[in-house]
């Protein structure tokens, strides 16, 4: 059995003696006897050695079909992008992995500076001046964006585009049970973009860019709708798309959120990912989560520190507008290193390659009898088709053919994502398999 404690029998005897205790059981005198368990009471297996534990995990891992066994054409908020070797080799150095929140900045300049650079990168992608040091994931970042908008406008009506990721909408609704926000949905037009404007006033207008169906939304139209409703505009951004599309900040977003998994984090069965959060300068006092600022030390040397701390829960307690404490720092560091590796030209190339694969896959699939476009708006790296057999059936049959075909939308819609990893050969085989399973 593995043992991660260093105590020898002699250590324990000497420590008990020093503390005036006769036995380890005397450590528990303040635990009422009625609820105290005898050793060995828990119904858990005995411990295992390191090799035996890893072998058990190899067995579990082998019971999942991944990679070439199930070539990934699914997205919907989790994307199969290549991860640069430098991310794995550098971000997973022990100093990043095993530190905690930088409460003592003098010995935490590494994490603090990495976060300062991450904030700068997120700000540049979104086109907004302020970005925080990360949130949990895209969905929970959207909730924080909504909460900021509602607090700033004192209007609890939240108007969400019907083409926002349904899992994100569900999280917004779940948490609205506590805050009392009222969530309404804005419908789509035939192209698959949101049909603005909408009736009535609101605190937040939420749009996804490109949206859940892959369609590139007109952010300026959403801005106009927000203005008409007296609302803040919250844009859920696909950060990869920023390689080609105009950033939402200059198009009028008050808050931009998204998920940084696409930069340096594998699919991971859904987490940990990283929630991106950026906003206009005037909203900085309402910013959720941690913020790193630049300053100097006693000798005038450039230094970094978490700042505007009076916003946060440990100081404001019940008056805080967010309860976020632990965030996703390590994944933010991965994101920063991957973005540094990509650089300006690399991000453009990555987005372009996604768009090319998407175009090629879409044209290939639409050549199959009975496969029709679900909507006809312009797309970038994800698109939706209507299938002649139920989408769930298509997905099951395609799994037998070695493909993760996508994500079902209602009964006969299939959402398909194509990243820069997908080759022409894979797409050709995907289309051939789709032709077979939809007959």
């Amino acid at each position: 059995m593995a043992d991660f404690t260093p105590h020898t029998a002699a250590d324990i005897a000497s420590m008990l003696d020093f503390c005036g205790l006769a036995s380890l059981d005397e450590l528990w005198t303040t635990v009422p006897a009625a609820i105290r368990l005898a050793a060995g009471t828990l119904d858990l297996d005995p411990g295992r050695s390191e090799p035996d534990t890893i072998a058990e995990f190899e067995r579990l891992a082998a019971a999942n079909r991944v990679g070439a066994e199930l070539v990934c054409f699914a997205g919907g908020g989790a994307y199969d992008h290549d991860v640069a070797a430098v991310v794995r080799r550098v971000a997973f150095r022990a100093e990043y992995v095993t530190a905690y929140t930088p409460y003592q900045p003098e010995v935490a300049q590494g994490v603090l500076q990495a976060l300062f650079e991450y904030q700068t990168l997120v700000a540049r992608l979104t086109g907004l001046p302020i970005a925080n040091a990360s949130l949990y994931d895209g969905a929970t970042a959207a909730v924080e964006g909504v909460n900021l908008a509602v607090a700033a406008t004192a209007n609890q009506r939240v108007l969400v585009s019907a083409a926002v990721n349904p899992r994100t909408v569900e999280v917004i609704r779940t948490l609205a049970a506590g805050t009392g926000h009222v969530v309404d949905v804005a419908p789509l037009d035939r192209s698959g973009a949101t049909a603005w404007p909408v009736q009535g006033s609101a605190g937040a207008v939420v749009v996804q860019y490109p949206n859940y169906l892959g369609v590139i939304e007109d952010v300026s139209a959403a801005r106009a709708a927000a203005d008409a409703a007296g609302a803040f505009l919250v844009v859920i951004m696909d950060p990869v798309a920023m390689g080609l599309l105009r950033s939402p900040g200059p198009l009028g977003a008050d808050v931009v959120v998204g998920d940084g998994q696409v930069f340096g984090t594998p699919l991971s069965f859904g987490g940990p990912y990283v929630g991106l959060f950026a906003c206009r300068q005037e909203h900085v006092r309402r910013l959720p989560g941690r913020l790193v600022g630049e300053t100097v030390d006693v000798n005038g040397t450039t230094s970094y520190v978490t700042t505007l701390r009076t916003r946060e829960q440990d100081i404001r307690r019940e008056k805080a507008s967010s309860n976020v404490c632990t965030n996703q720092t390590l994944i933010a560091v991965c994101c920063a290193i991957q973005l540094g590796w990509l650089g300006a030209s690399g991000l453009r190339e990555m987005a372009l390659r996604c768009a090319r694969g998407t175009r090629y896959a879409r044209e290939s699939l639409l050549g199959i009898a009975g496969v029709e476009p679900l909507v006809d708006g312009p797309v970038l790296r994800e698109f939706a088709v209507r299938t002649p057999v139920p989408a769930a059936t298509v997905i099951d049959r395609m799994a037998d053919e070695g493909f993760l075909a996508g994500i079902a939308i209602d009964d006969d819609g299939l959402l398909i994502a194509v990243t820069e990893r997908r080759t022409r050969d894979e797409i050709d085989r995907f289309a051939a398999a789709m032709d077979k399973v939809t007959r």
């Binding site: 420590m15 003592q104 987490g271 600022g293 720092t329 312009p378």
Partner: protein, 507 residues
């Protein structure tokens, strides 16, 4: 005679080169330089203009830094030389449980069969993942004495809010949603508790601690009523003390129809020794990054699963992994409060936690608690007479010291001790928390530090106190830290003149 032992957790030898600040990534950028390369795909090479309507296209690429891979690697590696971490030495940061995280847990998280799985993959293709999640849920329920759990919450605070929404759903289902408006928390609670209560749609009623450092049961009874939705408690509490009257506290809250919520921040102290379920708790969140050795990542990711008693199981977030006759599947409880995460939670962190539980086993987990408490108890005895110990009673995994007397005599404050300790090769304890202790030093050595390390830490803390006492002032500590990559950081300036991005420099 054997040679004297050296403490394994003292980090005073870390080498550092030079005293310069590290340039930012943006200052290392040269136009036209790039590290990226892409796979050969054979996909037709349409242009951006052919693929995207002109009105959506940006005119130039986002201004990302342009660096070589060599410079990128050097930069982020140099930053690690400016960063302290558990893998370098002891990190007695109270309430954060900065234990050593076994490397086998890192190994399992890199297995492609786990890391490359898409979260929307059909259940039949991810049976290994579902089996893992069900096994983890079952073990967490056994450890806490609960019936069912959600693994979705990605952090402790997210778990708290999930728990409060479960509380809200429970009262709503019993027609008491409108009437129950208050949640009680002790004055020693973590700040996330009151913030979560507000986001859960409740108001906070604070109950004071008594002279023993525990919840004042009489005061609690005084604030209970049929408008109380529940109470949130950390046990052991943030003073490191076990709430000895916990069974009576839970019964009193249950008597008025309230639910009892367990903040699992300090679960490490009681693994295999006692269970929140047996104490009377209804809802329990756990911080897997504290108790179950998920590395803290510089401030996350963590994982904050929430376990509940059987009557509350039907309200849990969905979808939940379940065992069926033929394997594993997803199911959503009938009265689910809904998702609290975009997918299934921080799943790779959950895998790490499961590997830690598998390796330790039931006996190993009890050993963890035993030795965490032994280490904290030893250090409390060591510091008696050196610092004030405001609640000098049997502690659990941590205890709170104070510089109140030293401050009066010499001006030495808790923050000074923290900064001076960095020069001694140890991370600082948590300072100024809990709020109910003046000049608090909250010390949690964890079970993974050796006796030699504890002794060296005790000696270092004693030196700091002695130094101030013999000088009659705290000048030495005020000047600290002098050995770290930067000296004391001007936090006030950072807030007064906000520079939150490289682009805000010089504005």
């Amino acid at each position: 005679m054997s040679p004297p032992m050296s403490p394994g957790g003292r980090a005073a030898s870390i080498p550092l080169m030079g005293r310069d600040a590290e340039p930012t990534l943006f200052e290392l950028s040269a136009p036209g330089r790039s590290a990226a390369s892409f796979r050969t795909t054979g996909v037709p090479e349409w242009t951006a203009e052919e693929l995207v309507p002109a009105e959506f296209l940006r005119s130039e690429a986002p201004p990302l830094p342009e660096v070589s891979e060599r410079d990128l690697t050097a930069h982020f590696t140099r930053l690690t030389h400016r960063q302290y971490a558990v893998d370098l030495g002891a990190y007695p940061l109270g309430s954060c449980t900065m234990k050593y995280n076994p490397k086998l847990c890192d190994e399992v998280a890199t297995l492609a069969g786990l890391a490359a799985a898409h979260p929307a993959a059909p259940a039949a293709t991810v049976q290994g993942w579902l089996e893992l999640l069900v096994a983890l849920e079952t073990a967490l329920c056994e450890i806490t004495g609960m019936a069912a759990a959600t693994l979705q919450p990605p952090a402790g605070a997210a778990g708290e809010l999930t728990g409060l929404l479960l509380m809200r759903a429970w009262h709503g289902a019993h027609g008491e949603g409108q009437r129950r408006t208050r949640v009680i928390i002790p004055d020693s609670a973590h700040g996330t508790n009151p913030a979560s209560v507000t986001l859960g749609g409740y108001t906070v009623t604070t109950v004071p601690s008594d002279e023993r450092g525990c919840v004042d049961l009489a005061a609690l009874r005084g604030v209970l009523g049929d408008d109380v939705a529940g109470i949130m408690l950390t046990n052991p509490n943030t003073l490191g003390l076990f709430e000895e009257e916990i069974v009576d506290i839970a019964a009193a809250v249950h008597d008025v129809g309230g639910l009892v919520y367990y903040d699992g921040a300090n679960l490490n102290a009681i693994l295999g020794v006692c269970r929140p379920g047996d104490m009377g708790f209804d809802i329990v969140h756990m911080n897997l990054h504290k108790t179950f050795a998920v590395p803290h990542g510089g401030g996350g990711p963590g994982a904050g699963p929430v376990a509940v008693t059987a009557p509350l199981a039907d309200f849990l977030p969905g979808p939940r992994p379940v065992r069926t006759g033929s394997g594993y599947a997803w199911t959503t409880p009938e009265h689910s409060i809904g998702r609290v995460h975009g997918w299934h939670g921080n799943t790779l962190a959950l895998a790490r936690a499961w590997s830690y539980i598998v390796a330790n086993g039931g006996d190993g987990l009890r050993r963890v608690a035993e030795r965490a408490v032994l280490n904290a108890t030893w250090l409390r005895h060591r510091l008696r007479g050196v610092y004030d110990i405001p609640f000098d009673r049997p502690n659990m995994h941590e205890f709170v010291a104070s510089t109140t007397a030293l401050k009066k005599a010499t001006g030495l404050r808790a923050a000074d001790v923290a900064k001076r300790l960095l020069e001694e090769g140890f991370h600082a304890p948590t300072v100024y928390f809990p709020l109910i202790v003046d000049e608090a030093l909250m010390i949690e050595p964890t079970e993974t530090e050796s006796l030699e390390t504890l002794a060296a830490l005790g000696d270092a803390l004693q030196r700091i106190a002695d130094e101030a006492t013999s000088a009659g002032n705290a000048d030495a500590a005020h000047a600290a830290p002098r050995t770290t990559p930067v000296g004391r950081v001007d936090e006030a300036r950072a807030a007064r003149h906000l520079i939150a991005t490289f682009d805000a420099r010089g504005e």
